[in-house]
């Protein structure tokens, strides 16, 4: 593939990222065309799901949170001025909503537990970092990867979870919401990947394909 010789612009169609397409879809939505946005919702929902879940939100709540983010997105359609900020807007909103939801969930559970209402069925205090159902990881290779991933620091798990579900050129936008400076993002991502890889390399059962 040829790269545009003269300083390729952000709008270069051949290099269009998910973020760019989301921006176009939002433009189309403003003009009353809903199909492009539907495609983007389908494509980006897994990323938002992983963003929300990596913040320690239970599955039921995460379901609501992701729907709420999309609603907030179209409600804000008129105010998102920079089309290239669309992906960042979505991810930041998802993370913020997840914080609020998990904070609220923990507060409510704590209050309920403190009151000890006998009529209420006992509620579990949601785990700050709920573990997904590990039992479903059956293939040994997947199990090794999952164990290595689970052993990483939380920050690394969050970042890699974003990165695994994002188009590569969108890393910048996604990384901006992890709370790090833009320049340290690539480094941190690389460091987390390196940690994961060395954990896998240390296991003689692991083989690269």
């Amino acid at each position: 593939m040829n790269r545009a010789p003269e300083g390729s612009t952000d709008g270069d169609v051949t290099r269009m990222t998910l973020g760019d397409r989301a921006a176009l879809a939002l433009e189309a939505y403003r003009m009353g065309l809903t199909d492009p946005l539907a495609d983007v919702v389908r494509e980006l929902t897994p990323l938002l799901w992983n963003v929300v879940r990596s913040q320690g939100v239970d599955r039921d709540t995460a379901d609501d949170v992701v729907q709420g983010v999309w609603l907030a997105f179209v409600r804000s359609a008129e105010t998102i001025r920079d089309p290239h900020a669309v992906l960042k807007w979505l991810v930041v909103s998802a993370r913020r909503a997840a914080w609020q939801a998990s904070g609220k969930g923990r507060d409510e559970a704590r209050r309920t537990a403190a009151l000890g209402d006998d009529d209420e069925p006992a509620r579990q205090v949601p785990d700050a970092d709920p573990q997904p159902d590990e039992a479903v990881v059956v293939a040994e290779r997947d199990r090794l990867l999952w164990d290595a991933f689970s052993g990483l620091p939380e920050r690394c798990r969050q970042i890699l979870r974003f990165v695994a579900f994002a188009d590569r050129p969108d890393y910048k936008a996604i990384a901006e919401v992890t709370g790090m400076g833009v320049t340290s993002v690539g480094v941190t991502r690389g460091r987390c990947l390196a940690k994961l890889r060395s954990a896998l390399d240390a296991d003689e059962r692991w083989g690269w394909s």
Partner: protein
């Protein structure tokens, strides 16, 4: 494909890219492999709930309908009035429902259709021919009423849905019902 071939551009050898932003680090083949595997494992371990994107799109459709139509209000029967305080989000499970707003009233009757879905018999007043659309998570169907305002939607899946109606000649407003649980 061997890793030796693909592993030549390791982290240190990676050239800064003008489009990769951030620190310009490129991913080598093993990074790509481990990320692809990780995405797959996460999808297995913590899958996106089935239909989540469809439910989100349904919520967006409702939002859009609400934005530019006149919303019909459910005409409450006495036993439902007690539950009406949260009527906007609450889904009611009844077999005959009437909705009304200033220009339009629609009554729908739900029955089991032979194929397992629901049959929706509806009647719109004042009598006219209407375009009737039913929106639900994962799709929408449309039909036209006859000149007396009667319409039938066959084999509608159960679940959340709302109806939007407008006169076939394009005059008058579009109206839509609140979400009902079929």
């Amino acid at each position: 494909m061997t890793d030796a071939d693909d592993d030549r551009t390791g982290h240190d050898a990676a050239e800064p890219s003008d489009t990769d932003g951030a620190a310009g680090e490129l991913l080598d083949a093993r990074d790509e492999e481990v990320l692809a595997d990780l995405a797959r494992v996460l999808t297995t371990v913590d899958p996106v709930p089935e239909g989540l994107a469809d439910r989100a799109l349904f919520a967006l459709t409702l939002e859009r309908l609400r934005a530019d139509v006149l919303e019909l209000e459910q005409v409450l029967t006495p036993e439902l009035v007690a539950r009406s305080h949260d009527a906007e989000r609450e889904m009611v499970r009844v077999s005959t429902i009437t909705f009304a707003s200033e220009p339009v009233t629609v009554m729908v009757n739900l029955s089991q259709s032979a194929s397992g879905g629901l049959c929706i018999d509806g009647w719109v007043a004042p009598a006219d021919s209407y375009r009737v659309e039913l929106y639900r998570p994962g799709g929408h169907v449309a039909t036209d009423s006859d000149e007396d305002g009667a319409f039938v939607l066959l084999d509608v899946p159960r679940g959340a849905a709302c109806l939007a109606l407008r006169r076939s000649d394009g005059t008058g407003p579009t109206v839509c019902t609140p979400v009902i649980e079929l």
